[in-house]
Symmetry: C4
Subunit: 254 residues, 4 copies
């Protein structure tokens, strides 16, 4: 079989589009953010990607109907002559091997060649190993000019963060885009890394919609965030209970 | 060498065949079920698949004669003009890498293209982590119509089961079959996942033969089930003994 | 680079050759046996195999000179018109992935196609997890006739041994040889699996030279065996000391 | 995408060049040494290698600008007609699979074919598992003559060191260079393997610059070495404190 199987549902004509990528990753921040945007903008699916670089797996819906795992592209046409249309890259998984990561990112860029991307925004989480009250949105960009532009939108560029660079599609799409001379930026919402993190995803989205001059609601995201909030509250209580118990122990011992 | 080596022993002409897949997996439910059906129907082997995606291994028979591991296809011609003939896909192993899984499933579908499959039944186990007295047969299908049809045959479609989807050939064959517009269903027998499970395989077969309007005996399967039954009885006794011993311990401590 | 790089040092004309394979494996039985035979017969190297399926490694000799790991083929021409010449396949490593195993075995058979192999003997160890005083030589063959022939040479064919079949080149060469209709047998010396085992290798060789009607000395092998014998004696003493100490403990407790 | 993507920034004409390789490895000795030499000689980057055999990762600079991980080649032209020019191979990572290791090393040699390399020096660390006060520089070479030549430059050739050979690019480049008949030597600085080791890198460089008749400063390397020296001093103190504490414990128990 072909390493990557592309199914085109539609061939949209797009005006100076930007690409927004949000695939699973740390805290699923990028996936949650990008899929929320797809829902809010009622973007249209135009392309499905299936591949042996993805897990050999089908997912089963609540109706008992199965579908092969894949990535999908959506588009959203904007009104007005000046605004860029938007393409979304979302999906169930990232490539499961380093080679698969490269091949899938490269192919996505190749597929979008004819649309002449103006810019790429990749969305992800930045795991810090502790619960974050007010997540920052960190950035990394393909040029110093873009770094400056992003700073004006509250994106934080912090020396040594992320120390290990950016692993996976959010990094590769930008790293490989140089072959097509497409500039781009990675927006990373701070997150514990312990939970899926809709709150961090919301912060990333707030920055992104300001950059792109979009208007969206956050209702669905807010609901998910509250569910997770309850979970993390329980988690913190449990942590405190354990800490208290230990202090108690030490008192007896002392 | 070719990634997949096909040896055709015969080129059968088949009437509107359905494919039944049963390869090793959870509780070996699918393999046991499909191979029992091959035996009962005295199906004819017509194709052998060897591949570098399978383990680098030969198996040694009781007579000391070895053979390379592989997958095989069998056919069974049914009497009457209306009934579908049956093709079986069985074997020693599934592909041992994700890539191998995709390639082997895709190739199997490609090989069967000329037979114009009417439907695919993939058989497997659904591991629940505890010993199951009366295994249900869960399902997942390629369309809502097929889900409805299967429900009428006591196949259970249960929201959130299997939660992680279906991994391996039983999923992939159905997920990839969309490329050939072949509908299909996965029948999963509930099983502990601790033992090979002929009882679960029998339940899957009972559902399947009802769907296909076949008649088979279960003698051989019953024997295997009784052997396993004895094993699981010992297992449960051991569990009980450990639990009793613990209770005893606690009484002393208390 | 090519997946497999072949360097031919010589193009020997061989008379009805048989292939003897001895690559690293359980107890290094096959490697020790085959390399001893190469030394004793003063066989001539005619072909080197290097490959990305082998470890990315060079070995350094006592003289400080390095060489890339590889496999090698040697030949030995026998006097007389009736006896078969011998080809040896030996080397530093087996393929390090399942795919590599298949590719290397297949290629070896392909390379030898023009020599029209009469038979293949693959040599290996059969690990039993305990120290073996008198190692048996177990067998598996490509046909029932060959099983019978081998039985007459003290090769043991024992139902259920080896239970998991034969993994690696010793199995694959025979399993794939069916494509060229070359018969073959795997000779496995019983071994603990804890040490390299020249004693087991000697037993395999004794059987093999009887089959092939060769005459060789065992001096070098005997020396290695004595070294290992001393090691295993120490091992057994240590085992006994531990067992005695435990018995002592129990007496106190009792 | 191509397995390996080459970007040539310049096509230098070089005089009888030698290749110096220093990629990440044990103690990062080779990488530190080669990159220090690149800096000191102000060598010019002429080629970038990106590949799916490297991690799917971008690195982020202190300025927030990202770049895809890769390997790079630099050249340094020497004055005078007799001296060899120098090519450097340095980078962020080595290939992350055995196959990738082979492909990247082979490709590097292929790329340099037209420069007719006179010799290859690969630089690495030799991990000994303890802190080394005066690191030796061990060697392995492609011929006995080269071993002799290196001995005259204080390179130590020690029977059984390194026992397991040389793994990775430092070995493969030399092992594969035989295909182009290019001789070479691996210089390995003794190192604990616990820390990056600029001191060991300096010793390797001292040997190398003597061989190549170069003059360089060691200021930057000295600074790094002092930082690490402080770290290892703390490490040794901690080790001693633990040992003392244990001795104390034993006294009480005794």
């Amino acid at each position: 079989m072909d390493d990557i199987i592309i199914t085109e549902h539609e061939k949209p004509q797009l005006h100076r589009p930007v690409l927004i990528e949000g695939l699973p990753g740390v805290g699923n921040v990028g996936k949650i953010a990008a899929e929320h945007l797809v829902d809010e903008l009622k973007a249209t699916k135009f392309l499905t990607i299936q591949s042996k670089y993805l897990p050999p797996q089908v997912l089963v819906g609540d109706d008992g109907v199965l579908r092969l795992v894949g990535n999908e592209m959506y588009y959203y046409k904007r009104k007005g002559k000046t605004a860029s249309d938007i393409i979304f890259l979302v999906g169930d998984y990232q490539g499961i091997t380093p080679e698969g990561q490269y091949e899938l990112s490269y192919r996505a860029l190749q597929l979008l060649e004819r649309h002449r991307l103006q810019r790429i925004y990749t969305l992800g989480g930045y795991g810090v190993g502790r619960i974050v009250e007010k997540p920052r949105v960190l950035g990394a960009a393909t040029s110093a000019e873009l770094v400056e532009e992003m700073r004006r939108h509250e994106v934080v560029f912090s020396k040594g963060e992320p120390g290990s660079g950016i692993i996976g599609a959010s990094g590769l799409l930008l790293g490989l885009a140089g072959q097509w001379k497409v500039p781009g930026v990675c927006l990373m919402g701070e997150t514990s890394g312990y939970f899926v993190d809709p709150k961090s995803a919301r912060r990333v989205l707030e920055v992104l919609v300001a950059i792109l001059d979009l208007k969206i609601g956050y209702g669905a995201l807010e609901q998910k965030a509250q569910q997770i909030e309850r979970l993390t509250a329980q988690f913190k209580e449990a942590e405190k209970a354990i800490a208290d118990a230990r202090a108690e122990d030490l008192r007896y011992i002392g």
